[in-house]
C-alpha cells in the first residue's frame, strides 16, 4: 500500500521528568531525604521530529529506557509534552484525547485490558458500549477477528485460564474492535512462542492490508521488524538516531560486507588472522570486510589464495549487528540536570 498522507506529525518534541534522586543506599541517606531531597530533571525525550504516513507499519525501537514508551504515551495523549508540536490524525492528542481515542487502538504487551475472571467476550461487549460500536459492525468485526485468529472457543473461557498467546490474541481484538485508524502495539509478541508470534504477525499484516490500518510497533524482537515493518525509527537516549526504511537499515554499513566462505579442505585460523573473523570452524568462516580500505575484488583475491573454496556468499551485515551498533553510540550532551 502506497503511503499517501501523514497520520502523525511531530516536531521538536521533548519531555522532561522530575525524579527524586539519592546518591547512597544507606539508612542515613534515606532519612536525610525526608528533610532534603535532590531532584534530577531527566530529559526522557529530546527534539523528536517524526512523520508517519497512513497505512505504514512503523517499528519504533531502542534499548531499554531509550524513550520508546514515553514517545507512545505522548502520542496517545497519556503524557503531557514539555515542549514541541504533535498532530495525530490532524489533532493535538493532549487537548483532544477523548475524541482521538475512538480512532486509536493501543495494546500494551505487559498490561491487560481484559477482565481477568470473566470470558474475553464480556470485555469485548464492554468495549462495544464504551466505543458506541453499532451492533452490526461489532458482530461483523468480532466474527472476522475470531475467524482470523482461530479463537472460537477461547473467547468463551475465563481469561485467567488462557495461555499467554491466547490472551494476547484477545488483547488484539480489544485494541481493534472499534476499527481504529492508528494502532500502537507496545511489545505485542513479548513472551510468545514461535507459532503465536507467527499468528500475530500474519494478523497484523492482514489487517494492515485489508483495512489500511496504520501500525506503530515497539519491540525488541528483530524478526517482528523484518517481517512486518516498512520503516524503522530508532530512539536512543531520548532522541531519534535512525529514521528510514527497513532496506536502508540493511545497507546502513554501505562499506561493510560479510563474506561467508566454505573451504574444500580445513584451513588454519591463523591464515585468516588479517581479517575480522566473526565465526570459524575449520571448513567454514564468516568474515567482515571494510571496503573503504580495500575494494571487494582484492579482498576476494586474497581469500582465494588461502585455500580451495567450495562456496562463497557476500551479504550486508545483519540488521541485528546494525542495531547493536546504533544502540552503542554514546549520547552527546548532558543526561541529567541536577537541581535543588
Amino acid at each position: 500500500m502506497k503511503p499517501i498522507e501523514p497520520v502523525i506529525e511531530v516536531s521538536n518534541l521533548s519531555k522532561v521528568f522530575r525524579v527524586a534522586q539519592r546518591d547512597k543506599s544507606s539508612l542515613l541517606s534515606s532519612l536525610s531525604s525526608l528533610i532534603h531531597r535532590q531532584y534530577a530533571h531527566i530529559e526522557a525525550l529530546r527534539d523528536i521530529n517524526l512523520q508517519i504516513q497512513k497505512g505504514e507499519v512503523r517499528a519504533l525501537i531502542g534499548p531499554n529506557g531509550a524513550g520508546k514508551s514515553s514517545t507512545i504515551k505522548v502520542l496517545t495523549g497519556i503524557l503531557y509534552p514539555t515542549t514541541g508540536s504533535i498532530r495525530v490524525l490532524g489533532v493535538d492528542p493532549w487537548t483532544n484525547r477523548n475524541a482521538l481515542a475512538s480512532e486509536l487502538g493501543v495494546l500494551f504487551g505487559q498490561k491487560t485490558q481484559l477482565w481477568w475472571d470473566l470470558p474475553a467476550l464480556d470485555t469485548f461487549y464492554l468495549h462495544k458500549q464504551m466505543y458506541s460500536i453499532p451492533n452490526h459492525s461489532y458482530q461483523e468485526n468480532l466474527d472476522y477477528f475470531i475467524d482470523v485468529l482461530s479463537l472460537h472457543q477461547v473467547v468463551k473461557k475465563p481469561v485467567r485460564q488462557l495461555s499467554l498467546g491466547e490472551r494476547m490474541k484477545c488483547e488484539f481484538i480489544c485494541a481493534l474492535l472499534h476499527e481504529p485508524q492508528l494502532v500502537f502495539l507496545d511489545e505485542p509478541t513479548i513472551g510468545l512462542d514461535i507459532f503465536s508470534k507467527e499468528a500475530i504477525r500474519a494478523f497484523v499484516k492482514k489487517v494492515n492490508r485489508e483495512k489500511g490500518t496504520t501500525f506503530i510497533i515497539t519491540t525488541h524482537d528483530l524478526s517482528d521488524i523484518e517481517d512486518l515493518c516498512n520503516n524503522v525509527t530508532v530512539i536512543n537516549h531520548g532522541g531519534i538516531v535512525f529514521n528510514d526504511s527497513i532496506e536502508s537499515l540493511g545497507t546502513y554499513f554501505s562499506s561493510r560486507k560479510i563474506i561467508d566462505i566454505k573451504f574444500q579442505k580445513p584451513v588454519q585460523e591463523s591464515e585468516l588472522s588479517s581479517y575480522n573473523v566473526m565465526s570459524f570452524s575449520g571448513l567454514s568462516a564468516s568474515i567482515e570486510v571494510d571496503l573503504e580500505h580495500n575494494p571487494l575484488q582484492s579482498e576476494l583475491q586474497r581469500l582465494l589464495g588461502i585455500g580451495l573454496i567450495q562456496d562463497i556468499n557476500i551479504n550486508n551485515p545483519s540488521i541485528e549487528s546494525v542495531i547493536k551498533d546504533i544502540y552503542s553510540k554514546p549520547r552527546t550532551g548532558e543526561d541529567l540536570v541536577l537541581s535543588k
Binding site: 514508551s69 503524557l79 470473566l118
Partner: protein, 265 residues
Amino acid sequence: MRTFAELLRLFYYQSKLKIARAMMYRFDFLIGMTVALLFSSIGPVLQYLIFTQTKGFPGWNLKQIILFQGVLLFVLGIRRILFGDLHYFIMELIQKGDLDRLLIKPSPAIGIILSNGFNLNGIGTFLAGSVIMGYSIYSLDLTITAGAIGLFVLSILFGIVLFMALEILFTCAVIVLVNIGRLDDIVQSLTGFGEYPLSIFTSTLKIALVTFIPFAVWVNYPADALLHRWDNAQALVSFLFCILLFAFSLWIWKFCLRRYTSAGG
C-alpha cells in the same frame, strides 16, 4: 449531559460485569454480604447504648436517632454499592501506571474511574438501612409525603455529587504523591463527621459542615426530610457548595493530570 449519560451507561455495564464476577465466586460474595450485615447492625446498637447511657443528642429522641442510624446505613450502603471498590482501584491504577489504559478511552478518564467503583457487598448495608428506616418511620408514625420523598432523594443525589468530588480529590492526591497509604484512613475519618446529627457540633463546626465541607447532606438532610424538619435556606447553601466542590475537584483533576508520570515498563 451526553458524557454523563454515557458514563451512566458505562457504570451499568461495568456493574453487570462485576455482578457476573461476584457470582463466579459465590462463597466470597455470601461471606462478604453476611459480614457487611453483621457490621451494619453494630451501628444502631452502639447508638442505642450511647443514647441510653449518656444525655443523648440534643434535639433528638431515641426513635429519631434510630431513624438517623437507618438513614446513615442506607446512605453508606449506596456509597459502598456505587464507590466501594474505588480507593483500592485508584491506588492500583496510579502506582502501577495502569491509568494509561483509561486515558486512551473515548470517555473522560475520571468518569471511567468513578464508574468503576461498584461493589455488591454494599447491598447488605443498604438492606439493613432500608429495614431500620422503614421500622423507624412506622414506630414514629411519620407521614411520608411525595415532597418529603423528593427532598430525601435530592439530598441523596447531592450527597453522591459531594462524595464524587472527594473521590476525585483523592485521585488527584494519589497522582501527585503516588504512595500515600494512610490517606484512605484520613478521608474515612473526615467523612465520619457527616455521620452524626449536626446538633452535637459546635456552631463553627456546624457552619463548616453546612458550607465548606457540606457533609450534612449525607445523613442529616435526608433524615430532616423524613422528620419534616427541612430547612430550605440551609439545604440550598449546602447544595451550592456541593456543586462548587465538584467543579473545583474537576479543575484540580485537569491540573494534576499534567503531572501524571505513568510508570516504566
